[in-house]
């Protein structure tokens, strides 16, 4: 905070008050729980933490959680962009309905989503039956986890990219065309660079949400250790064993990996902003 802001007259005074409330709420709601988790980790000590984490089952679960979240978020990145583009640029019957439907994954309890997806994709479900002749099984496999994570992550990409597409100046595309650029070239050199920061934000949000997702995945994953057991389930299992330290250890591992991933995404974002001259 620059001191100058405090001194300069503002039509809306109240920096002190709003800053105080912000700090208090942030501490209570966000920093304290995370601090408590890290504090628990400090009490355990790094050597013991490593011992608790260093097993094949935990690494399998962490790998699965993060790789499935990454795959689902990459899918959402492409599909979400397409959906947002169609919603903004074209007028068609039912557009408003689809626009509203995008938010449903936010509103629906995740358990409901998980049960509904499982019922559809189980071998006796509507989609499951259709896929079975091709030897494809979705429910109770890793693919099922992807499907659930795509579902819960989609609105994050769409809702962050949509307003930026609305702000895009069509003139630029026209200028690009009159200067002789082909469509793909315009898309690559004119449109995508402007959208990249928003796309990355949406991607990061979807990723962060998917990594920790428990409610919907638990129903559609087979929960078989080493194969379809996600890290959040392993935390619940450790709690059932009254082994709070081991549960905290997995929680800390997830926190650290998530933090590192978000840091990388932020770095790419800053780099891409500079490249297009926004910062």
């Amino acid at each position: 905070m620059r001191v100058g802001i405090l001194r300069s007259p503002s039509p809306l005074p109240g920096f002190g008050l709003s800053f105080g409330i912000m700090t208090a709420i942030l501490s209570i709601v966000v920093l304290l729980p995370i601090g408590a988790l890290l504090g628990r980790g400090l009490m355990i000590g790094p050597a013991d933490l490593w011992d608790m984490l260093n097993s094949r089952r935990i690494w399998s679960a962490l790998t699965l959680s993060f790789s499935a979240a990454l795959i689902a978020s990459l899918f959402n990145l492409v599909f979400g962009l397409m959906l947002a583009w169609v919603l903004v640029r074209y007028r068609f019957w039912g557009r408003r309905f689809i626009d509203a439907a995008v938010d449903l994954p936010f509103a629906l309890p995740t358990a409901v989503a998980g049960i509904a997806l499982t019922a559809l994709y189980a071998p006796n479900g509507v989609f499951g039956q259709a896929l079975a002749p091709f030897g494809l099984q979705v429910a109770y496999t890793e693919v099922g986890i992807w499907v659930a994570l795509v579902f819960i992550g989609l609105p994050f990409v769409v809702r962050t990219v949509q307003p930026v597409i609305e702000e895009l100046e069509r003139d630029l595309e026209e200028v690009s065309a009159t200067l002789g650029a082909r469509r793909a070239y315009t898309l690559r050199r004119v449109i995508l660079p402007t959208l990249t920061p928003a796309l990355l934000t949406g991607f990061a949000l979807a990723l962060a949400r998917s990594v920790g997702e428990y409610g919907s995945v638990i129903f559609i994953a087979g929960n078989i250790p080493n194969i379809t057991e996600i890290a959040p389930l392993l935390i619940v299992i450790r709690l059932e064993e009254y082994n709070y330290d081991a549960a905290a250890a997995i929680g800390i591992a997830m926190l650290v990996i998530s933090f590192a991933m978000l840091l990388v995404i932020n770095a790419i974002q800053t780099w891409s902003r500079r490249r297009i001259g926004l910062a």
């Binding site: 097993s55 094949r56 089952r57 499982t118 019922a119 189980a122 071998p123 006796n124 479900g125 429910a139 109770y140 638990i218 129903f219 087979g222 929960n223 078989i224 250790p225 080493n226 057991e229 389930l233 619940v236 299992i237 450790r238 709690l239 059932e240 064993e241 009254y242 082994n243 081991a246």
Partner: protein, 395 residues
């Protein structure tokens, strides 16, 4: 007057006095430690013994004094008088139980209250909480003020006794039959006509057979399944660890609770055989039609004893203690035993039961948890971290 206040899900606050302050809202003077959160329901018995649930509002966080906001008044709740009413009208019991007992306790609570009021007592407010046995035990350890616990295995109650001291260590000898008023066992549920020809435990390790059972880490019932398979292998001279390991390699879905597994098998069509509580298997037949599934009784199984006990540390008055003790003891009465039998539990006293309810149970050889050395030995050795179950998945 006692009022029970359900706060953020399963937590319960007990109010000693309920006082209307007119426009300033209502005031609850509460007892000792106080959980925090949103007030959702107040329940109290009507004259006819049924329960009235109403009042949805927000309880401001408080330590000793919790205040009901003026919203109470807006909901049109009027309480007679403005003076505190003494705690005479009724006693309340919170029964914290596991998953498959929902239907049984719903009916038992009515049966108990009818008997209790016939004895000249005021009706008792009974609240039920159901969930996976392990999660329920943890909720009680973390402060859920259960009056009585009726869980899937004694290991869960042992954990409460050990970690909170609210239950004496010798709790299991306080009531007859190891404090298990009803028992069950583990049987197989297979698809109509038994297409895979599953007759006994050794058919479960055959190549390509899919077995559905929940995760023993999160489900009490699954631990009984595991031990029953183990007992079979021991009796047949097989290597138990290898046998049980082979069985779990045939499990395509490990649900977190017994009801989840039943759903996976019956609704999702996954698997050839479901390892199920006997009462769940009969319930599945009754609910989903006898022409969809068959019950297969293995040559040997385990006597599952879901125990009940009083949580002494959560008792707040003598009246409550008397009612709660009667609530548990009445489970052994011929009427309650007949009710348990009609809910497909094996009960001890068949004098009042319908002959059909007794005749349906097949005779089979049952090992007991004592044969394994008791839950205190079994829990860490088989299901603890790094225990035998974990080793199956370590390879």
């Amino acid at each position: 007057m006692y009022r029970s206040i359900r706060i953020s899900g399963p937590r319960l606050a007990k109010s000693i006095f309920f006082r209307s302050l007119g426009e300033r809202g209502n005031k609850i003077d509460a007892g000792h430690t106080r959980p925090w959160g949103h007030l959702i329901t107040v329940a109290w018995p009507n004259a006819d013994g049924s329960y009235h649930h109403a009042l949805r509002t927000v309880l401001s966080a408080g330590h000793l004094h919790a205040r009901l906001l003026a919203a109470t008044g807006a909901l049109g709740l009027t309480f007679a008088g403005t003076v505190p009413v003494a705690a005479q009208e009724g006693v309340e019991i919170l029964n914290v139980s596991y998953d498959p007992t929902r239907e049984f306790y719903r009916e038992y609570n009515e049966l108990f209250n009818a008997w209790w009021t016939a004895q000249g007592n005021a009706p008792v407010t009974i609240q039920q909480s159901h969930g996976g046995a392990g999660a329920q035990a943890r909720a009680v350890i973390d402060g859920l003020e259960a009056t009585v616990v009726t869980l899937a295995l004694s290991a869960d109650i042992d954990q409460i006794a050990e970690r909170t001291g609210r239950i004496p260590a010798d709790w299991q000898s306080r009531l007859p039959q190891n404090s298990a008023p009803y028992t069950s066992t583990i049987v197989f549920l297979v698809r109509q006509g038994n297409p895979r020809g599953i007759e006994d435990w050794d058919d479960l390790v055959a190549e390509g057979v899919q077995v559905i059972t929940p995760n023993p880490k999160t489900s009490g019932g699954a631990r009984w399944n595991f031990l029953a398979a183990w007992a079979y292998a021991e009796r047949s001279g097989l290597d138990p660890a290898g046998f049980v390991g082979a069985m779990y390699r045939n499990v395509p879905v490990l649900d977190t609770g017994a009801r989840g597994s039943t759903t996976t098998f019956t609704q999702r069509g996954i698997g050839d055989v479901l390892l199920a509580w006997e009462n769940e298997a009969f319930l599945a037949l009754a609910e989903l039609g006898e022409d969809a599934f068959d019950i297969v009784v293995p040559s040997v199984s385990i006597l599952a004893e879901p125990p009940v006990t009083l949580v002494d540390g959560n008792i707040t008055s003598d009246a409550q203690r008397t009612a709660a003790e009667a609530y548990l003891q009445h489970l052994y009465s011929p009427e309650a035993q007949a009710l348990a039998l009609s809910h497909y539990y094996r009960a001890w006293d068949t004098s009042l039961a319908a002959p059909d309810d007794v005749a349906r149970f097949p005779d089979l050889e049952l090992v007991t948890i004592a044969d394994f050395g008791g839950w205190a030995v079994v829990q860490p050795e088989y299901f603890g971290e790094g225990g035998i179950f974990d080793q199956i998945y370590e390879e």
